[in-house]
């Protein structure tokens, strides 16, 4: 009984993705399910939509830069929070986690108002700054979790043997926390790549990320080529999941230890 319910619910969970993949091959010129016939035509149409290809590349670049910065900042914060005991530590922890707790839309319009009042134009830099704020907490948590499992004695031993602090960290601790660092980077990348709520407020007039470009069609009828684009993004994501699963195990991402 429990088993039947479980598999039915999981079927429902995966249904929207399956439907997108299935519909992308429809031979009809409108979106319907079940799809009619089979064609790859819409993939060709989709790839010819230059503005969507540009947005995809733009999203990749933004997400990659965000991933690198969030991992570096998150790593620094994680080291301080895990390895030092000092007054204000708990408050700092709560402060750095708060972007996860606050509604993303609040952060989005907050940054928009702040930078426009300072006279900044909407630029990719501001967009990346916004993405870094909402992704760094994940990096802090994931790297911090890895770091908690590493005995500080190892690093101290390297120091006693004459290694400078930075070298001891880079050669002893860093290799040991690599799974957390990789997980943090990938998670920051995915979160940034997926984001609409920040990006929609900080979009530059010229460049728009892919999810925002898709979102902006919200009041128009669905077109098969848009479904083909979505199908390609799903396939891209599946490839990423496979990569994560091979490196650290997906369940590690959400704070549940892989068992």
């Amino acid at each position: 009984m429990l088993r039947i319910v479980t598999y039915m619910v999981i079927g429902l969970l995966l249904l929207p993705m399956a439907v997108v993949l299935g519909t992308s091959f429809t031979a009809a010129s409108f979106v319907s399910f079940p799809p009619q016939g089979f064609t790859l035509r819409w993939y060709a149409v989709a790839l010819a939509k230059q503005e969507f290809v540009d947005s995809f590349v733009y999203s990749l670049v933004i997400a990659a830069i965000t991933g690198v910065i969030a991992t570096a900042l998150g790593g620094l914060v994680a080291v301080v929070l895990v390895r030092f005991r000092f007054t204000g530590r708990e408050a700092l922890d709560a402060f750095f986690m708060s972007p996860l707790v606050l509604p993303t839309i609040v952060i989005g319009i907050g940054i928009l108002q702040f930078f426009s009042q300072l006279g900044f134009k909407a630029t990719s830099t501001v967009l990346i700054a916004g993405h870094v704020i909402i992704t760094t907490p994940y990096a802090i948590r994931l790297i911090g979790a890895s770091l908690t499992g590493v005995d500080p004695v190892l690093e101290r031993a390297a120091r006693n043997l004459g290694a400078a602090p930075l070298r001891a960290f880079a050669e002893i601790t860093l290799p040991l926390i690599r799974p957390g660092v990789v997980a943090g980077a990938i998670f920051a990348f995915i979160t940034s790549f997926d984001n609409v709520t920040i990006s929609i407020f900080l979009a530059t007039p010229r460049q728009v990320t892919l999810p925002v470009r898709i979102f902006n069609l919200w009041d128009q009828p669905l077109e098969p080529w848009l479904i083909a684009i979505s199908a390609m993004v799903i396939l891209f994501t599946v490839a990423l999941i496979a990569l994560i699963e091979r490196t650290i195990g997906l369940s590690g991402l959400y704070g549940q230890p892989a068992k």
Binding site: L2, R3, V5, T6, V9, I10, L12, P16, M17, A18, V19, V20, V31, S32, F33, P34, L73, L76, V80, F86, R89, F95, V101, L102, P103, I105, V106, I107, I109, G110, I111, Q113, F114, Q117, V132, I133, T136, P137, Y138, R141, L142, D194, T197, I200, P211, F215, D219, L222, I227, S230, V233, T237, E245, L250, L253, Y254, G255, Q256, A258, K259
Partner: protein
């Protein structure tokens, strides 16, 4: 051993290390949110967009005294409650099954439950658009069963389905987290004392898993009431929610004061819920997710 100035210098090390990140967060995060609170007290002239009053509760009163806006706030809360209920009803049996199946099956099921989280929300919503809209899967099924047709797009039901799909994994992980912590000996004790499976569940398992259920409900509800993308895509202008108003006021009507006031109200509502979540999470052995 160490002399006083040395110790004081040591105490500075963590702050020096963290300073660049702290400054970045203060500028790009704390300052904007504080500014938002200030902006929410500004009243503008709606035709010239010029600020005509600096410190006034005008925007809050406008929101809280107008039946139209209160209706939207109520709808937002109502959607959050329904989504939470759906996630509990569909999440509990799955979480329970996860504790009873073998480790291999559990690993695969976990992967399947978590994997939708990494697929873009916009694209998961498009999937539901195809399923729930005209000429969609539901339409076809309804036709087969002789109900004529079905088109749920731009309805509250569509928004509830879309949101439940997105936040469901958080509920399962949360309930599973506290179910996992129940000592199997307690269950055996219940059985030895003559409790049937149903009695053992209602008298032992369910109460012991309450922290996870409550924490999961709080997190799902908080995420729901502040969500923007899914209500906009599946509900559109016909099912406006609070976050939709924030977006509309900011980018289309350019009344940033009013947008900030609505955002602040959202902030307060989710803040209270998250505080409750933290308390629940701290008091139990709940091995929580990333939100702690």
């Amino acid at each position: 051993m160490t002399d006083e100035p040395n110790r004081r210098r040591r105490a500075l090390v963590p702050w020096l290390l963290i300073a660049p990140v702290l400054v970045a967060f203060l500028i790009v995060f704390a300052a904007p949110v504080l500014l938002l609170l200030l902006t929410s007290l500004e009243r503008i002239n709606p035709s010239t967009f010029v600020v005509i009053e600096r410190f006034t509760a005008y925007n809050y009163l406008k929101f809280l005294l107008d039946g139209f806006y209160l209706g939207i706030l109520w709808r937002t809360i109502h959607i959050g409650l329904v989504v939470t209920a759906v996630c509990v009803v569909l999440g509990y049996p799955v979480a329970l099954y996860l504790t009873r199946c073998g480790p291999r099956e559990r690993a695969i099921l976990m992967l399947l439950i978590i994997s939708p989280l990494v697929v873009s929300i916009v694209i998961r919503n498009l999937g539901w658009l195809i399923i729930l809209g005209r000429r969609g899967l539901l339409d076809a099924l309804a036709g087969l069963l002789g109900f004529g047709g079905a088109d749920l797009l731009r309805t509250e039901t569509a928004v509830v389905i879309g949101l439940a799909h997105i936040f469901y994994p958080f509920m399962v992980l949360s309930i599973y987290g506290s179910l996992q912590n129940i000592d199997p000996a307690v269950m055996r004790a219940a059985a030895n004392l003559g409790a049937g499976p149903w009695r053992a569940f209602s008298a032992v398992t369910l109460p012991l898993s309450m922290p996870g259920l409550i924490a999961g409900s709080l997190i799902v509800f908080a995420l729901c009431v502040s969500s923007f993308v899914t209500p906009a895509l599946l509900g559109g202008a016909r099912v406006k929610v609070a976050a939709y108003l924030v977006w509309e006021q900011t980018l289309q009507l350019l009344d940033w004061g009013f947008a900030s006031a609505i955002a602040t109200i959202l902030l307060i509502v989710t803040g209270i819920i998250m505080y409750a979540y933290k308390r629940v999470a701290e008091r139990s052995w709940f091995a929580g997710g990333v939100f702690q």
